[in-house]
């Protein structure tokens, strides 16, 4: 096998396998000697190094393992830690609008309005902290009543809240106060 061909195969296998690979195993699979594998791998490692690539090949005894260049670590964390893109689907928006304008409301009532079971959407919205349990209906079975959260109000801005139906003036005043307080606390924190 040509040296370049071997390097290509090794690069592929080191990538695909992710963990360390023993030169002997590779040699057997590719039908070359262990020494040839080590030599080609060393060359590959050298190439990555000198071309300042984002990937590197490290030697561990007679094994090699592909890894990222150390300098990349910071970016890797940034990418991995990026908040998952939660998508607000039409289904979720619909459910949210019903809770917002009909609150407090039960799952059954939401399903009635939408024409389909909406348990999943309700649960998702609770998970996203946009709606929450605000009590139980005083009826047989005591179904949960849902309403929007403070987080929801905050997102939509305090001024527009008065256009939501079921919030009393006192509630709004209260929310405003709280929000102002929090805003003050936050500036102190920073």
């Amino acid at each position: 096998m040509q040296s370049n061909e071997l390097k290509k195969e090794l690069e592929g296998i080191y990538f695909a396998i992710g963990r360390s690979l023993d030169a002997k195993t590779a040699a057997e699979a590719f039908g070359v000697t262990k020494e040839e594998v080590i030599k080609a791998s060393e060359e590959l490692a050298e190439e990555y190094e000198s071309a300042d690539r984002g990937i590197r090949l490290v030697r561990l005894e007679d094994s090699f393992q592909m890894c990222t260049a150390r300098e990349i670590y910071g970016s890797l964390i940034k990418i991995a830690k990026q908040p998952k893109k939660a998508v607000l689907t039409n289904t979720l928006l619909e459910t949210l609008s019903i809770v917002a304008y009909r609150q407090p409301v039960t799952k059954a009532a939401i399903a009635k309005i939408r024409g389909v079971n909406s348990d999943h959407s309700v649960n998702k919205l609770v998970e996203y902290d946009l709606i929450e349990e605000v009590g139980r209906m005083d009826a047989p079975g005591r179904p949960i009543l849902f309403g929007t959260t403070e987080e929801f109000l905050r997102v939509f801005g305090i001024e527009s809240l008065s256009s939501l139906p079921s919030l009393s003036d006192e509630q709004i005043a209260e929310f405003k106060e709280e929000a102002v307080e929090e805003a003050e606390n936050e500036t102190v924190d920073v």
């Binding site: 890797l76 991995a80 609008s97 019903i98 998970e127 946009l130």
Partner: protein, 258 residues
């Protein structure tokens, strides 16, 4: 005519009636646009006869096609009715609808073949598992509601709400709406009476109407009413109705002392 056609379709399984039909057409080396209906229908029926038992859905689809073929065959064998007026629109080939369906099906059938080739080629590529440090991997960022609702204003939300309400009003399936509710319900009087009794234990005064959530079926109302009667009979509650069709006010005789 050439020797009697015996089709070696015995071992082949066709996933649908159109696939079988396409196969027969290709086998007979005829054009989709000019299906020799009699022959094809015979062969088709022959296949169905020998079809191994399969699921009911598939089988019925084959039978539906068989009857379609038979109906086309009948139409083609019957003498054409002379149009009374020469200007009358052209007689459409009874096969036309079938031809269109076959052509569309054939296109996807061929594209499936193309996809298969792609799949074989793409299968030669290996991907890898993530190698991300566990402390990074296990980090799950919370969803940011502000970002989630980016671009959604209260008025948009209101518009969506109105849209949902509008749809609710318009949501009338023209056929099924005539059937009335087809919800399957089992509300046992016994259960309902039990529920009502435990409710009465926690509430001294309550009204019949307040026992229901918005979405209540007629059955449930009736069973609840029977449960009320049952509890009245056993003296667990007292009930009073001021006027006909008015709400029923109930006083619990078993409410826990407050």
């Amino acid at each position: 005519m050439e020797e009697k056609k015996t089709l070696d379709v015995k071992l082949e399984a066709f996933s649908g009636p159109l696939e079988l039909l396409l196969h027969l057409i290709e086998k007979n080396k005829v054009s989709i646009y000019d299906i020799p209906i009699v022959e094809i229908t015979d062969q088709y029926l022959d296949y169905i006869d020998r079809m191994e038992e399969t699921d009911l859905d598939t089988m019925s689809a084959f039978l539906v096609m068989a009857s379609t073929l038979l109906s086309i065959k009948a139409k083609m064998l019957l003498p054409e009715k002379k149009p009374e007026d020469e200007e009358e629109e052209e007689q459409t080939d009874p096969r036309q609808e079938l031809i269109d369906a076959l052509l569309e099906y054939k296109m996807y059938h061929e594209l499936a073949g193309e996809l298969k080739e792609r799949e074989d080629e793409a299968g030669l590529v290996l991907f890898k598992e993530p190698t991300i440090p566990p402390e990074v991997k296990n980090y799950e960022a919370p969803v940011d509601p502000a970002e989630l609702l980016d671009g959604v204003t209260l008025s948009k939300l209101n518009a969506i709400f109105n849209e949902v309400l509008k749809r609710q009003r318009e949501r009338v399936d023209p056929i099924r709406s005539k059937f009335g509710s087809i919800k399957r319900e089992k509300i046992s009087l016994e259960e309902k009476t039990g529920e009502l009794l435990s409710f009465a234990k926690g509430h001294r005064h309550f009204s019949f109407r307040n026992l229901f959530e918005g979405d209540t079926s007629k059955t449930e109302v009736i069973v609840t009413f029977l449960a009320v009667l049952e509890l009245m009979k056993t003296g667990k509650i007292h009930a009073r109705q001021e006027e006909i069709f008015g709400d029923i006010e109930m006083e619990s005789q078993v409410a826990y002392a407050v």
